[in-house]
Point group: none
Chain length 230, copies 4
DNA sequence: TATGAATGAGTATTCATTCAT
DNA sequence: GATGAATGAATACTCATTCAT
């Protein structure tokens, strides 16, 4: 169970706008909380703490841990303290749960990354922020279940894949803009993005942040150094 | 159905030793066929064309396509023209099929990579060969089902994971040696290897070799350029 | 949705008593409307247009179309624009809905038949009226859902069957009286009634009134001719 | 559980061909056993006593008793002493069980009727034989579950209905021929058939053969008298 | 080795019914 | 009277695994 409200502040990128840019050149950066509240208002994200939101968070976690096929609807229901039959008041099928979980996770990660990019000064800092956010999405408590987007992609019907892809694209759009703004632009930003994405996604299999010599912070720097040498 | 013998020659790296190095300085590079035959002789690899080998190839392909959990024992049996009950004369459980498939795939890929490295002159050429081989394992017909090593790792019990890891390590050993021999050695070869591995594994999700501007050959060069700038 | 009031006049047999028998020998024939109003007053029939009446009409129609077991309480509720939970303010179980629907349908058909018989002169005309009414009950808009009495009899518990049977018997009483009054009485009126009942009920499976050579009128005559040859 | 072989002789119409027609004018009438054996040989009817045949007999009986929707797959399996999962080795869905049961029942009844008609001399006797057979199909042990053809018709998808209709038509063909051969032919044989069919089907609801004044034999005669007055 | 019928535990999903609001 | 979220038992169907032949 995750308190989505407190998560945001936990990510550390979005504290507030009290950064003295009242008279500054850079426009006011939106807070993560603002962005998320807006999504909830638009009906794109579930009301925090609602049964629906708790089901999705729980499901995303279980899918990540055990895989979609090995997670039963009963597991998910038990995770939020209801009975399995009741799930179908919220979702019409198990696959819909997966799709919705992916959508929520994507929107969540996008909000975090958008805020972090907006809070960064140079394009290179922005790229570092993107890398950092994606790493945190996978490893931190920021976006629990983020890796199902990669791990369980095959479990989605193609119609559902198409729906998620639309949101996914708006997430990638942020990366594209950041790449475009880089001073010495890379030859093939699309390729770079894909290599970075793979490299980051794979950290899920080996990187354990707790008490490691290599922090998430440093890992971000290494990845930045490889793909955008200073 | 795949003829594992003919595949090897199809990979194009290991044609023969008729490369004029009879009197040369570099020791004779072993053929893939030699390496594979040796593994069969040692009982580490199934006799090609045996029912067992055909089951494993078919299973690896199906697991890659549909995922382990969504592939039924019946599917696999049907794929080689026997009935589901008969599979249990060859393997004691579905999970054993997955483990054995992973082992075969690993040995296969290792043989291909060992031969390619042996046929390369400089360390940088050797690194290119490694990248190229891993890409081919994923995309070519060289090692069908190779990506299950990543995709279906969670479907394996931890005991089985341990067994596969041992073989896996002998595969990684080749990479380690190649990294160690690089002229301007990288700061953190282990990290580099993991980033490369992730980047390559992820190509499974987006790279379609047929009729693309970007060939496997070029893709290898790009990856090499990123991780080991000349 | 059916307006039960207007239906009655649609049946065409019971328009009014303006048939000149003010001074006649035959007693005044009661209107269908009169009979139904009386039933409502006695509390045997639901107030027309009440939620309860609309639920029963809708349920009868759905049970006829899809069968009792395949009709959900949600379907019925949706049919009258309320939610499924609300149904249980009107009926204590789904089976009660079926029983009540059968009762309403029986009373309705009885009123129509009683009026038609009362408006007929000779016993043979009265028999024709009975046949005609039962056919109309099944095929016309006169008594929507009438055939559930036969089709869904097995779906009723035996206690409910007993309750419906009492009403049903008052319906059959009309037939019995008509048979008894026939000039050349049949050998075995009870058997004849049952054969007629079966023959008429089965028309539900094959007779389609719209644009057929055989009208309901003619069909009535044929059945009359078979069972009571002139 | 019914022994289909002994049933046939129990029906009393098909005793043997030792009826002295060796030198007679009428061609040798085929035995029910012959007809059924032929159907089994053609693969249209299940091997008697096979699990499949026992499942279908049992299912037909249960569907007749409790209705298709209220009969569970477990009930059927339990009826023949296997577990519910095993049913799906024989049929791919519950609906397939219903369809196959209807087909078997139809073929069975057709064979009985064909033999009875062949064993009758005059057209009127043949009509009596048809009526008698259909009554026996419903009430006797001759064709257990026959009435599902009427009672559960709505439970079948339209594709399945179409398949059963083809067989059903070959059953009706016998009736058509008999009607056509009647001396004083009826005005509208198709209508007569439908009325008879309804009348007979409905006997399922009221006629109880055991220890009744009215025997099946006499009932047949009454029905014959009504529809084909001498 | 192969067969194929049977197992039996498990799965997602349905649905009448309840009840606090 | 109506809501709608929750219940919980029941359902058809799945599938890895067994085993007598």
């Amino acid at each position: 169970m995750v308190d989505t409200t407190s998560e945001n502040s936990a990510s550390g990128h979005s504290e507030s706008r009290a950064d003295g840019n009242y008279g500054g050149g850079r426009p006011v950066a939106p807070t993560v909380s603002d962005l998320l509240a807006e999504l909830v208002a638009e009906g794109l994200l579930s009301e925090p703490d609602s049964t629906r939101a708790r089901l999705l968070t729980c499901a995303a976690g279980l899918f990540e841990q055990k895989g979609f096929a090995r997670t039963t609807v009963r597991d998910i229901a038990a995770g939020v303290g209801i009975l399995s039959g009741s799930i179908f008041h919220h979702f019409s099928s198990k696959e819909e749960i997966l799709r919705c979980a992916m959508e929520e996770v994507t929107l969540h990660a996008r909000a975090l990354m958008a805020a972090a990019v907006a809070a960064s000064d140079t394009p290179r800092e922005q790229l570092r922020a993107c890398i950092r956010c994606e790493l945190e999405a996978i490893h931190g408590e920021a976006v629990p279940g983020f890796s199902i987007l990669v791990l369980e992609w095959r479990s989605l019907s193609s119609e559902s894949q198409a729906r998620v892809l639309r949101l996914r694209d708006s997430y990638e759009e942020i990366w594209r803009k950041v790449f475009a703004a880089l001073d010495g632009p890379l030859d093939d930003p699309a390729l770079s993005r894909r290599l970075i994405q793979g490299a980051i996604a794979h950290t899920h299999n080996w990187f354990k942040p707790e008490g490691r010599a290599l922090s998430l912070e440093k890992l971000s720097d290494r990845i930045l150094a490889v793909f955008a040498p200073a």
